[in-house]
């Protein structure tokens, strides 16, 4: 080191400057932390990074607006709006590369949010959502609730800067057993930790709600170990072994997650059986309560929302305890004012939630890797309540949803309702029509191939797939006015008319006036009957094509026109 001049002066200067810089860095990080109210230095890092990104995203958004980058847009009818329906969006992971069917890429998510913002859509908080659903407040049109399931790291870190840039708010449904488990996090590389959730909560951009405690893992439901969702099934209690203590037995039933069960005495020693009803109720209640209490006590927040893990509330045929659905709903509704499930684009009817008409169970529109800004805008616009009179010659953005068969928009803007190779027909429902009650709805239909074409009114559908509606079913020379309650079909009136025949184009309709239902063929009434007691008195409009042969039925809907009859 003969060419280094390490004299006292130089060393002092370097040490002094280093000290000044390092102490400044130290105190700035502490000071910023205090000013920002973050939980730790790590929170600060998140903030700085997030704020920088948010700032840049905002610039990107404004720049695109400034130079007029074309964005997808869909017009939403002014009348109605969120006074009467509330869309809820659901995302899971926001990732750089799509790995699962639930993932959406960061860029795609950004584009979707930018498109929503540019089209005037605005998020609401969970509190606003609750008040709106209870009818206590009326929110501006184009309001929506943005939700994320599972409390994954990748549904927070890439998302938060985008929310910040757009002034958006979101809800995170947390699997509390993973994220705020008193026994320690067991998947912390994937799920947000308790500390991270404190940061999430402190940002003011997020509400934390419940996604169950340890219910997001399938459990054995029979002796061979078939694993099924926790809330939707009775669990299998294996035979106890000779000399096994009750404690050891509990541990064995609880399996790998034993240490995370808060309650060690759920089950008595058994000789190989399913849980009893009481055991099921007790287990489910404890899990739901544990999750809510953990969130409320850890973060000092109210928790009123719960999302069903696996979107499963025993609605599927695979459940070993289908009657448990009623029990489950009862328990959930006692603990949580609102619970959330997935309305998925196929087979679920209306996509949005109607204050005063819907109960505690909330539909969510689930986004997937194929979603685009345009498809999202279409779904939102199509699901908004439609006011009467309603006319539509272009079906592409009308909001048609399939509940059965093959429903699609053709390139000419007409709607095709057809059977799939596995079905005898198809059924399309016009979203956003749930609140229609007294109306005449007519559709111009190409009767291409179908033994029966039905115009459907007063359509209602429960989340557990039961459909109830009134229909005018047209067939060669005949019309049947029927009431379909899902499990039973009643013919209210029958009409014979030689004019009714499968021809290229007809106007078919259904009308509800003063407790009567009527079927219309090219404007003339061909059947009429009073609605029997218990029949649905409100609900929207749909079209069904049916033929006894599999995969052949197909009709095309060209134009829809609906008038109020009040």
């Amino acid at each position: 080191m003969r060419y280094g001049d390490f004299n006292v002066r130089k060393i002092t200067i370097v040490l002094l400057l280093s000290a000044i810089v390092l102490i400044s860095v130290y105190f700035t990080s502490i000071g910023l932390q205090r000013v920002l109210g973050a939980v730790s230095v790590r929170a600060l890092g998140t903030r700085v990074r997030s704020t920088t990104l948010a700032w840049l995203y905002q610039g990107e958004f404004n720049w695109a607006n400034f130079v007029g980058v074309p964005r997808p847009s869909v017009s939403v009818a002014e009348a109605g709006g969120n006074e009467t329906a509330m869309p809820v969006l659901l995302y899971h992971g926001i990732v750089s590369r799509v790995a699962g069917s639930e993932d959406v890429t960061v860029n795609e998510f950004k584009n979707q949010m930018f498109a929503l913002k540019a089209n005037g859509w605005q998020t609401i908080t969970f509190d606003q959502f609750e008040k709106a659903m209870r009818g206590e407040v009326t929110l501006p049109e184009k309001s929506f609730l943005l939700t994320f399931d599972d409390g994954r790291k990748d549904s927070y870190y890439p998302v938060d800067p985008i929310l910040q840039a757009l002034g958006y708010h979101a809800v995170m449904f947390v699997i509390t057993g993973h994220s705020v488990n008193p026994h320690g996090d067991y998947s912390s590389s994937y799920y947000l930790s308790k500390d991270e959730l404190s940061i999430v909560q402190a940002s003011g951009r997020w509400d934390l709600e419940s996604h169950g405690y340890i219910a997001h893992v399938p459990y054995p439901i029979n002796a061979s170990g078939t694993a099924q969702p926790f809330y939707a099934n009775k669990l299998w209690l294996p035979a106890s072994q000779p000399g096994e203590t009750e404690e050891a037995y509990q541990a064995r039933v609880q399996g790998d997650l034993e240490q995370y069960f808060l309650h060690k005495t759920l089950w008595p020693l058994a000789d190989g059986r399913l849980e009893t009803n009481g055991e099921f109720e007790s287990r489910v209640t404890q899990d739901l309560l544990t999750s809510k209490n953990l969130l409320e006590n850890t973060f000092s927040i109210p928790v009123d929302g719960f999302a069903y893990p696996f979107n499963d509330f025993a609605q599927s045929a695979e459940s070993d305890f289908p009657e448990g659905k009623g029990v489950l709903f009862k328990i959930v509704n006692q603990i949580y004012p609102f619970s959330f499930y997935q309305w998925s684009p196929a087979g679920s009817g209306y996509s949005q939630n109607y204050p005063g008409h819907d109960g505690q169970l909330i539909r969510r529109i689930e986004l997937n890797p194929n979603s685009t800004p345009q498809s999202l805008l279409n779904t939102l616009a199509g699901g908004q309540p439609k006011s009467l009179p309603y006319e539509n010659a272009d079906q592409s953005t009308a909001g048609w949803e399939s509940t059965w068969g093959d429903v699609k928009i053709r390139t000419d803007g007409a709607l095709s309702v057809a059977a799939t190779p596995q079905t005898s027909g198809g059924l399309a429902i016009l979203d956003g029509t749930k609140l229609w009650d007294e109306y005449t709805a007519q559709a111009v239909v190409d009767w291409n191939f179908a033994s029966n074409v039905s115009i459907i009114g007063h359509f209602n559908r429960d989340p557990d797939t039961v459909q109830r509606y009134i229909e005018c079913s047209f067939s060669q020379g005949n019309v049947d006015l029927r009431r379909d309650d899902g499990d039973a079909v009643t013919v209210l009136a029958h009409g014979a008319n030689a004019e009714i025949e499968p021809r290229s184009q007809n106007t078919m309709g259904i009308s509800f006036v003063g407790g009567y239902a009527e079927c219309l063929w090219n404007g003339g009434i061909v059947a009429s009957a009073p609605l029997s007691a218990g029949a649905p008195r409100e609900g929207g409009f749909g079209v069904e094509a049916w033929d006894p042969s599999l995969g052949l039925a197909q009709v095309t809907v060209r134009q829809v026109s609906v008038q109020s009859t009040e």
Partner: protein, 433 residues
């Protein structure tokens, strides 16, 4: 900061000193911001441990260069030690500059009777030889300096020219000056003063860019040269292990280079004769046994490429020789001073990794995520801004922002050169110069 030569052609007033204080404040403010960002984003920012680690090492390395450079010492010139000196100038087609290059040897503040000049005309097709002879007569007549002009009808290459100079030289110290470089009168004193230490085999002078204000390309090179000498070479010099004493102005002890001149002349790499990076290679031979230092007061000026195309070609040659000589130096550096070895291997690793990190940040990341790599670009920008402010504070050059902006763009364009040089390393053509 580092006690470095100031090229005070822009003048300093009271206001100027005031600006200086502001600049140094800005310099430390940027270090502060960089460190603060590192602290704040330590656990969340890196997408993986590798990138996080890489970022910390790069930051640490660059800041440590400034600290080491600050401690670099330049011994005083001792009039009692005045070894004899031979200037060696190989030249090809340099009719515009060669006369001035050689003329300046007669202006030095050094006993002229101890000076000898050897100019080699390496197969020029212009009037280089005539210019050499012209200045030869002038120096002999007016200054009494012995000047030898060697004329080769056929071009043999710069390395042969330098070797010829080494073999013909009679004096103790050989100073290589490029045919487009011009020395300041004090240059010789500050080069030879180090050779009083018998371990020293080579001394690098400080070279500034002569044509710095021609355009953006030359301004940028001026900034790069300045940082490369006063920070990176000064940091290496603390350990007396400068890895490249550039051909534009460097001195070697004749006794030492004579030991390996033939080996160096016939150096083979990957089965081909080495035709460029002669200076780095000569330094590399020297530091195996001896020491190499940097003399910040031995001033010279050199002409740099003025077009982007020529600049890229020059960089390409330098990168190739860097790969070759670094590979060779890797085999013996570990035996040297521990800190010097750590610095050397760290720098080597970072240089090799930087294109990979670059590709990941600017190509792979945007393609897979469709996001702009803001964090990487901001980091790159802050690091260059740090160097830019240092350059402005030290030299007062008014166009530093433009220079640094160009450097920023260039580092993005030129980062490809290292991998490209790696794959084309066996192509030993010079390209148009």
């Amino acid at each position: 900061m580092a006690k470095q030569p100031r090229t005070k052609q822009y003048g300093k007033s009271f206001k100027g000193e005031f600006v200086d204080v502001g600049l140094w404040f800005a310099f430390f403010a940027i270090i502060y911001i960089i460190l603060l960002l590192k602290v704040l984003t330590y656990r969340t920012a890196p997408d993986n441990w590798f990138l996080g680690f890489y970022g910390i090492v790069v930051t640490g390395f660059i800041i440590s260069r400034f600290v080491l450079a600050y401690f670099h010492k330049s011994p005083p010139y001792d009039e009692s030690y005045q070894p004899t000196v031979t200037f060696v100038v190989p030249a090809k087609n340099e009719e515009d500059n060669i006369r001035e290059t050689i003329r300046r040897f007669g202006e030095v503040h050094y006993p002229l009777e101890k000076i000898e000049v050897i100019a080699i005309d390496d197969g020029s097709t212009d009037r280089t030889y005539e210019e050499m002879v012209g200045i030869q007569e002038e120096l002999i007549e007016k200054k009494g300096i012995e000047v030898t002009v060697v004329k080769w009808e056929v071009n043999r290459g710069k390395r042969d020219g330098m070797a010829e100079g080494i073999k013909r030289a009679k004096n103790d110290i050989i100073i290589f000056i490029d045919s487009d470089s011009f020395i300041e009168p004090d240059c010789v004193r500050h080069l030879v003063k180090y050779f009083i230490d018998p371990k020293v085999g080579a001394v690098s002078g400080h070279t500034d860019v002569y044509n710095k204000d021609v355009n953006m390309i030359t301004r940028m090179q001026a900034a790069r040269y300045y940082i490369a000498f006063t920070v990176y070479k000064a940091a290496e010099s603390i350990f007396a292990l400068v890895t490249c004493c550039p051909g534009c102005c460097s001195a070697y002890r004749r006794e030492y280079v004579s030991e390996f001149v033939d080996e160096w002349l016939n150096q083979q790499f990957l089965g081909g004769k080495c035709t460029f990076g002669d200076d780095r290679s000569l330094t590399n031979f020297t530091i195996r046994k001896y020491e190499a230092v940097y003399s910040p007061k031995a001033l010279a000026h050199t002409v740099v490429p003025e077009t982007f195309r020529k600049y890229v070609k020059q960089q390409q040659r330098w990168k190739k020789s860097w790969i070759r000589e670094t590979f060779i130096a890797c085999t013996f550096m570990w035996r040297k001073n521990f800190l010097a070895a750590v610095s050397f291997y760290t720098y080597t690793a970072l240089s090799i990794l930087s294109p990979l990190v670059f590709i990941r940040a600017l190509i792979w990341y945007p393609i897979t995520t469709h996001l702009v790599p803001y964090i990487y670009l901001i980091g790159l920008f802050l690091m260059l801004l740090l160097q830019g402010i240092y350059y402005r504070a030290e030299t007062g050059h008014p166009r530093w922002i433009a220079a640094i902006a160009t450097a920023w763009v260039n580092s993005i364009i030129l980062i490809w050169q290292l991998p490209w040089a790696f794959f084309t390393i066996r192509d030993s053509r010079w390209g148009t110069r």
